[in-house]
Subunit: 102 residues, 2 copies
């Protein structure tokens, strides 16, 4: 078996908590912090930590605005995030195929 | 998006270092520690730690014997390991499909 696809998996995306965040953001232009949190049933602290990691990797941008005088955080995927996520999904597909062959 | 497939991912298998170990063992009856280590280009310490986690989860069995008076460790996947890995690969396939649709 060729271990390359496994070695190439991006740890930032592969983490179980961050993978669904990336999937959601890949499917849409932007989502509010609250929408992400409620869809993924995450705690505020957990989601904040994962978003920070994704932001530091350059995969996600966070925009803070006010809506009816309340702070609103909006999350969106950067082009670097889209490229990295697309490469990651390609690797997952290779891994599934590798394991279906055996 | 339905977050269920993501929530169900087995962390023991999902870890980047353990996934290729499980893939290799799923494809064969048994492999020696050395074969695993060399194929995956892992350090002894790293592989030992991952195998211990997989053993504790009941997914992998380790057999220690002597070969030409030298200790030989052989690794094989248990039925519980095969079941869990098969379920994991099904989830990966769902995740790939979810992300191809969007």
């Amino acid at each position: 078996m060729n271990p390359e696809p496994f070695l190439q998996l991006d740890r930032v995306i592969h983490e179980k908590g961050r993978l669904p965040i990336m999937s959601l953001l890949a499917a849409t232009a932007e989502l509010s912090f609250t929408e992400l949190r409620d869809t993924l049933k995450m705690t505020d602290g957990n989601l904040t930590a994962h978003l920070r990691t994704l932001q530091q990797a350059g995969y996600v941008g966070l925009t803070k605005t006010l809506q009816n005088r309340r702070p609103l955080t909006t999350c969106s995927m950067t082009q670097a995030g889209r490229d990295a996520f697309s490469a990651y999904i390609d690797l997952l597909e290779q891994i599934v195929r590798l394991n279906r062959e055996t």
